[in-house]
Symmetry: C2
Subunit: 332 residues, 2 copies
């Protein structure tokens, strides 16, 4: 079968190459991939930013397709089913945090950027009917991360004011859509004029340009105070975010594209009873709830562009440049 | 009546002086104070660290005594009752955070360091019988802050591992006692050998000297990981605390004696799903639950020393020097 693998000898560090299919082990299934999607994680793997990265690994955490074959111990009824793959493996039983055995599909374990993907059968959920394969493939990693941030940790409530920073990223867009569907008043920020205008079209109450020095004052004035912020920048931006939060407000973050958090205003946090909560991915329960929510609310992921596997270099470069608005999808 | 007031002309900035008693307004009561207790807040008022500090104000947030007189609109049955005063005024209806009208007894409003204190009747709760007036006076501000930190925000559970930093402070000691009573395994830290040995005697699993460079490693090794930390230092110590926390752990803080929080390890927070939560004082509901808990568990506040009002300078100086182990109490 053809697959997109890490290849340190290739100029792009990627190869679209022929890979030997392996035999299924107990409890595994083989999914014929109809669409896969990229995450920053894939680009970071290409850059070698994770430990123990090895040539030949098939990248990709997000995928949707049709079950082609099942291993011993798996219900035969799965064969022929249209499915989404949950890329969070071995979360464990604790809803609060993942176990030490936790891993994400697509490194070190072979992932979804292939004609066939082999995964444990318990990673499958049925594809909601309102989603195409491309849309379904866009959902798993980012949709799960956004769901846990907004609902499990954020406990978003109808009528609350929610700010999604860095609108444009995959998780941010899901958080934006989910928050709207949950009945929140949703605000967004982006340094890109184009992305700001998309957020407005999609229903943002107001959108802010965080590259402006006084954006936090503007946001405070426009919103009257935010109850819940979903962020992935961290770095030196946190004091701005604290300034925008109402007393009792929550700041949930799932990344640190701007690095470690510097000089936090401690008094502001304790006097205003603020919560800062880190989050990543989600439990199996989060994933099931998320797919159910997407089904009920008929949420359609935003797709930036669909590339054939043969254009994988272009697709990865688009992720690298951060120009995408929505998920970047690849089809075999 | 005699009262301890702020006096910028006195070398100690305090005066024990004769103050005119005023007439009760609607809904107020007059409490004959049997004991009052100091908090850092009183010392900070003496130092002029709050805005709008005025000479002549009667300091003191903590007090217990006997109701002597009630104003219009107050049930006469209160007269003669032994009471504790809740110093948190106008918290409001939101359990998540205090209202903008929130204030603390003892500045700007006259406080408890007087023979008589006038407070709204809804600030009274009956003194638990197992407490002397001195012990009851030690409870309100610090006991409330500790209760909210540990239970409302910290959601402490039986069998969890809890670390109380800076053992010796009033809030820290209540948090320590409450956590033990709640069935947690309790650890503590202090830079004072004497305070560490008291913590051990009181039931700490292990006690750490945070002035040692490798204290966090020792704490991690000894405890096997902490679920909940109650802290008031903030500053540059937070990364040490994050290192000690289990995945899904909570770090609740109610002060920042070491200043703002610098260089937080963002990845540690989001990957380990950690929560950092600020807290201060507590709602009326927190106060009622706290007194009920103290009653049921027969918790006795630790008293450092009891001074007569005439020794108020000595009492404040002891607070300033931070040598106390338990609450500093003053009696008229």
């Amino acid at each position: 079968m053809k697959a997109i693998t890490l290849d340190s000898k290739s100029p792009s560090k990627l190869s679209l190459t022929q890979v030997q299919e392996r035999v299924l082990e107990f409890g595994e299934v083989k999914v014929s991939i109809r669409a896969a999607a990229l995450n920053h994680r894939d680009e970071w793997c290409r850059k070698g930013l994770y430990p123990n990265i090895q040539d030949g690994i098939i990248l990709g955490s997000d995928g949707a397709g049709v079950v082609e074959e099942v291993g011993d111990g798996v219900d035969l009824a799965w064969v022929g089913k249209e499915v989404i793959i949950n890329p969070a493996i071995n979360w464990g039983q604790d809803q609060k945090a993942q176990s030490k055995e936790f891993e994400i599909l697509g490194m070190p374990r072979n992932g979804t950027l292939a004609e066939k993907a082999i995964v444990p059968a318990d990673r499958l959920v049925l594809k909601p009917e309102h989603l195409s394969f491309e849309e379904a493939a866009a959902l798993p990693l980012a949709g799960l991360t956004a769901y846990r941030a907004l609902f499990y940790h954020g406990q978003v409530k109808h009528g609350e004011k929610v700010l999604i920073t860095g609108f444009g990223g995959g998780v941010a867009q899901f958080a934006f859509q989910y928050a709207l569907a949950a009945g929140a008043e949703v605000f967004a920020s982006s340094s890109s004029k184009e992305k700001r205008s998309v957020a407005t079209k999609l229903g943002a109450e107001d959108v802010f340009d965080y590259s402006e020095k006084d954006w936090a004052e503007k946001a405070l004035k426009s919103s009257g105070g935010i109850d819940l912020i979903i962020d992935s920048a961290a770095g030196n931006t946190f004091n701005d975010l604290l300034q925008v939060l109402n007393p009792g407000g929550r700041l949930i973050f799932y990344g640190a594209t701007r690095g470690n958090i510097s000089e936090l205003n401690a008094r502001k946090i304790f006097w205003n009873q603020l919560k800062i909560q880190g989050t990543t991915m989600g439990s199996d329960q989060d994933f099931e709830e998320m797919v159910q929510f997407v089904k009920e609310q008929e949420i359609k992921p935003l797709i930036d562009q669909v590339f054939p596997f043969t254009d994988c270099d272009k697709a990865f470069d688009r992720m690298k440049d951060g120009k995408q608005l929505g998920k970047i999808v690849l089809v075999p």
